[in-house]
């Protein structure tokens, strides 16, 4: 595979993981990334394109691609699929009306060959908001049980405001990716 396989090898050596973060606009992706990185979350504009954050998590280097979810730029998501080790799908658990949209976009994403090997973490975000659906309810609406049995996935409730649930989610994702990629060596 030429260069690509060389890149893969380097990546493994440095214990890098490429994580793609998507979801509808307003779901809280950028807020989550900044929060997990210990940055100020008080002023965040809707993402026009994407942000890359490189953070060290445990003994791994995570390259997190936070891509904007506004309708106009959802068509760009597919530009970021290549070599994704982990996929984070963020849901605004208080936005009941758009759960249909949310399900449709997620279903489309999961049909993608290039993402078929990626571990999937679903963040049921905004749990701090009264009236938000619980992770179990979100799992039901998104019909996660019907997912391809080969997919590694988990849904975790969280709040980017309080930080609750974020570490639990990332811990699972990083462990899952590590056990697939690195333990094999």
């Amino acid at each position: 595979m030429g260069l690509l396989s060389i890149i893969r090898k380097i990546k493994r050596k440095e214990k890098e993981m490429r994580i793609l973060m998507v979801g509808l606009d307003n779901s809280g992706k950028t807020t989550i990334v900044l929060k997990i990185n210990g940055e100020d979350t008080s002023v965040i504009s809707p993402t026009l394109g994407f942000n890359i954050k490189t953070i060290t998590y445990q003994k791994y280097t995570l390259n997190i691609w936070d891509v904007g979810g506004q309708k106009t730029i959802r068509s760009y998501w597919r530009n970021y699929f290549e070599q994704t080790d982990g996929l984070i799908w963020v849901v605004d658990s208080s936005d009941l009306r758009r759960l249909d949209d949310c399900k449709m976009e997620l279903d489309n994403l999961l049909k993608e060959e290039r993402l078929s090997g990626a571990s999937l973490l679903i963040f049921a975000n905004k749990q701090d908001i009264k009236g938000a659906l619980t992770p179990a309810e979100i799992a039901k609406v998104l019909n996660l049980e019907a997912m391809d049995k080969t997919r590694h996935w988990k849904i975790v409730g969280c709040s980017a405001y309080t930080g609750e649930g974020l570490l639990e989610g990332f811990d699972w994702l990083v462990q899952d990716i590590a056990s697939r990629i690195y333990m094999l060596e």
Binding site: L3, I44, N79, D95
Partner: protein, 350 residues
């Protein structure tokens, strides 16, 4: 002004000098902060860039783009055995270009970000097309690709229960979860709809399917969802999270929030105080002005919501549907002589 410190008597020299130095640093950092830059650069990992870098970004971007394009063109003439290598290299260059955009995106004007993204997308497309044209598809299938079978009917017992957080069983038995009665106004016409949410600790508040109504909302909510409003006036106190508006026509909104996203609005006026840049998508004829709402105690509520100060973002609208540098034709600043007076809703039902 610094001359004074210079003339001060010798004994105080050292401390005066230090003070002067500190004052200078402070002035410098103030000046740095008040640059006519995007007001809210996400504290990106690379903090070296600044406003002036836009032009150097553009020339760098243009250069790499041209180089990639010419390499793409050369592929047709290349030795077929080296094609794969060429494609990998071009692919790596596109990835680098993408990284450049990502790293620069926080200080670049929004239309530059979007048009750069478009360019990258086009380059990738061109590469894909070319490589599927020039490299014949391999016959074997990759082992690590899981067979893609139609999802079987979901089993009823929670086989994947370990995937869920330890959460109580979902309410309601059917697939679609019974939607809880969230606070809000829905399906009304020709009414004044008023609510004082102070002390209620509301989470999200919803306004949907309203026709010719006036909405008065006193106090703070965490999130506000607005859907399908026509000929309505909406007067709302601060929202600590975000406001999401979809489908509004001939409406007037007075809103204060951390984020405001407006989709599919037509011929409507928005009087906003907002901490980040308001955005519009699929809108036309929308106009913007500063927030003009009053009720007893609103200053306190604004303060508590972190919206005590007018940051001037109401006019920094980003139109996701507009790729060019020129002003978007979809929105404008509401001329001062057409703006409404401050609206007072202290007396909710009046």
């Amino acid at each position: 002004m610094e001359g004074e410190a210079d003339r001060s008597d010798a004994s105080a020299d050292a401390s005066a000098l230090r003070k002067k130095h500190l004052a200078m640093l402070e002035r410098l950092s103030n000046r740095h902060q008040s640059r006519p830059d995007k007001p809210d650069p996400p504290p990106a990992s690379s903090s070296s860039s600044s406003f002036e870098s836009t032009s150097s970004f553009l020339s760098l971007f243009g250069e790499s783009r041209r180089s990639i394009e010419s390499r793409l063109a050369q592929c047709r003439l290349a030795d077929p055995s080296l094609l794969k290598l060429h494609f990998d290299e071009i692919s790596a260059s596109i990835a680098d270009l993408e990284k450049l955009v990502a790293e620069s995106s926080y200080y670049l004007p929004s239309y530059e970000v979007r048009s750069s993204l478009k360019t990258i997308s086009d380059l990738k497309q061109a590469l894909d097309t070319l490589s599927s044209e020039l490299i014949p598809k391999k016959k074997f299938s990759f082992k690590n690709k899981p067979a893609r079978k139609e999802p079987t009917a979901p089993s009823l017992k929670g086989a994947d229960a370990e995937n869920c957080d330890s959460m109580p069983a979902a309410k309601g038995g059917s697939l679609a979860v019974a939607v809880p009665d969230s606070p809000g106004f829905r399906n009304r016409a020709n009414e004044v709809l008023a609510k004082d949410v102070r002390g209620l600790e509301v989470g999200e508040f919803t306004l949907s399917d309203l026709e010719s109504c006036e909405v008065r909302l006193i106090g703070c909510a965490r999130a506000l969802f607005v859907h399908r409003l026509r000929n309505c006036r909406v007067y709302a106190g601060p929202v600590t999270g975000s406001v999401l508006i979809e489908e509004a026509e001939n409406c007037v909104f007075l809103l204060a929030s951390h984020q405001i996203r407006i989709h599919n609005a037509k011929a409507s006026d928005f009087y906003l105080r907002v901490r980040s840049r308001p955005i519009i998508e699929d809108c036309s004829g929308v106009r913007f002005a500063p927030y003009r709402l009053h009720y007893r105690g609103i200053e306190r509520d604004l303060e508590d919501a972190g919206l005590g100060e007018e940051a001037g973002n109401w006019s920094k609208v980003d139109d996701f549907k507009w790729l060019r540098a020129a002003q978007s034709p979809n929105w404008s600043v509401l001329p001062e002589d057409e703006r409404i007076e401050t609206v007072d809703i202290s007396d909710l039902s009046a």
